[in-house]
Symmetry: C2
Subunit: 340 residues, 2 copies
DNA sequence: TTGTAAGCGTTATCAC
DNA sequence: GTGATAACGCTTACAA
């Protein structure tokens, strides 16, 4: 492996001069630059970023720690992060925790050891230990998608409570009185907020007695299980609210398997969509969060923290949701964008 | 930021002793180890991996460079890579090229600069420049999913030709005579091999005259466009073969939009599936590659190359496909696993 | 415009 | 069992 010294020697200059050519920094005469460039390509020289970062104390690397790489919501969010980081000259390391606090802890430890310049974190649970560790190392941090009890952090997320309220109100306006919700883990804010939004809509419309809510996991399997459970005894709801896209698919399959037609027997709505390119026929009535934008905005905020050029106060940025009425609740088969 | 020196000083030992504790290497008395551990937690010390890697010349990091992060085939493959690497103590950097040769070149350059221990590459095109650059740096390399013209490399991939032959033969056995195929980019081996398998089946069954094939891109949009084109003039095929899962979804949507019923008017089959947890109702007849296994096997091979403990000859490992008959070609609505 | 010297934080090597 | 020393490959700080 050629080093900067080999190049310098071959070009007849000092190592620092080679460094200046590589980094386009400082003044270099055209002649010198040419000489160096020739030497570089002759030796097939590749700069060693480890050495550079060790010395300069910057890695130009961000990390995105999230909970489910198979969920398109996060895949698209990840794209927003990557695109934005890339434009600003940062690379991104992606870490998937599968909603496990232990995996999260391990990844955070690793990322700090790798000296990443900043971290975007979708917390797996309500434990704020990772946040403390990160802040102890003075590594800039932005929390994504979820609220945390910890106070001094920046947060970028969607309006789970409002979106859930909107979906529930929509079902009530359709005439449904028995509406059940299946949600994610109890200590995850998106699961809790969606449940709260649902409850608020039910209570405001005199349906407090009919509230029927379940915590579980944000997976297809769990959506399937909870749905079977709900419809195995009376009174059976006429509408079902799945708190995320994967649970909704599980619910849809369960309803089919146990003989309930959607939307004829049961109306089904969901928080978050499955993107166009993975779906043959858009079918589900949903509210969706602007996941790409969430990733983008969080990354911009993180980079401004790294560059230290934004106001010191912590921010909580909440994005509104969009509503799409489709066939699963009796709407049209084609996509329809409705009132925000 | 505390360093190994601060810890050493506080514990009253030499830096190297701290290093030994961190890495569980060499002999350390229990008393010394305790002292060091106390100092570590007292200072909130986090080892600097950059410095370690610079000195030890190992980063314990692999890279997976692939072409489409939104395609579940690759998402699952990536999991196979990550799980396998993790067990062996390696981290993985994921890089998405969007089938762009330029992005691929940039990522390869970056990864070599990062001194990754090995690279798994799904080549974006037929250009072997990246392969040469990687091999010049003596960085172990395994090619994934696709053949390349370059000779001295290890390859792990699925049997595209055989799978395509099988799907086509299946359609012919159903009685179809006019079968069209829509495939991916011309210079991508999986696109070419699937087209070849299709042609072989057609020719062996006296249907050479009816061959109708199109190159395009492995995307939903392209599947949609090509399907519209094919069905805009006579003779219209009675069966359509989409060379990947996303193209198949595009085809399905196009057929619906222009008024053809699947499978009544047109039978549709596809190479690669959409996984269970993203699909409400499994519908498409497919052959699938064991994508998780592909990632796993490739990673094992790469790690054995890094450790230099496998035979020097280059390997080409080809995985067989599995066949699932479903409703899109007139099969049952539930999943059915058929003859391999 | 170019160069010298020192040091980033760790571990390999050798010594005790 | 433990430690002194040098070195990994680069860039910062300062000098010429």
């Amino acid at each position: 492996m050629a080093t900067i010294h080999n190049v310098a020697k071959l070009a007849g200059v000092a190592p620092i001069t080679v460094s200046r050519v590589i980094n386009n920094s400082g003044y270099i005469s055209d002649k010198t630059r040419k000489k160096v460039q020739v030497a570089i390509s002759e030796l097939g020289y590749v700069p060693n970023i480890l050495a550079r970062s060790l010395r300069s104390k910057r890695t130009n690397t961000l990390a995105l720690v999230f909970t489910d790489i198979t969920n398109p919501f996060f895949t698209i969010l990840a794209r927003g992060v990557e695109d934005t980081a890339s434009i600003a000259g940062f690379n991104v390391i992606f870490c998937n925790t599968d909603e496990s606090q232990e995996k999260e802890d391990n990844y955070i430890q690793l990322l700090l050891q790798k000296q990443v310049d900043g971290i975007l974190l979708v917390p797996a649970g309500s434990n704020t230990r990772s946040i403390k560790v990160i802040q102890e190392q003075n590594t800039p941090l932005v929390i994504l998608d979820r609220r945390v009890s910890h106070s001094n952090v920046d947060i970028v997320r969607g309006d789970s409570e409002g979106g859930a309220y909107q979906l529930t109100k929509y079902l009530i306006d359709l005439g449904h009185r028995h509406i059940a919700i299946i949600s994610g883990p109890r200590n995850v804010s998106t699961a809790e907020d969606r449940l709260l939004g649902y409850k608020r809509a039910m209570e405001e419309n005199g349906l407090k007695e009919n509230i029927q809510s379940y915590y579980g996991r944000f997976t297809q399997a769990c959506g399937n299980d909870l749905t079977r459970k709900i419809f195995s005894h009376d009174p059976k709801p006429t509408a079902l609210f799945a708190a995320n896209n994967l649970m909704a698919i599980g619910a849809l399959r369960a309803l089919r398997d146990i003989g309930f037609k959607v939307p004829d027997d049961v109306a089904l709505v969901s928080f978050d969509d499955i993107p166009e390119n993975l779906t043959a026929f858009p079918f589900m009535t949903v509210v969706t969060q602007p996941s790409y934008e969430l990733g983008k905005r969080a990354t911009e905020l993180l980079i401004s923290r790294i560059k230290n050029d934004s106001a010191p106060e912590n921010q909580e940025i909440i994005f509104p949701v969009e509503f799409f009425e489709r066939a699963s609740s009796g709407g049209p088969l084609n996509d329809t964008k409705k009132r925000i």
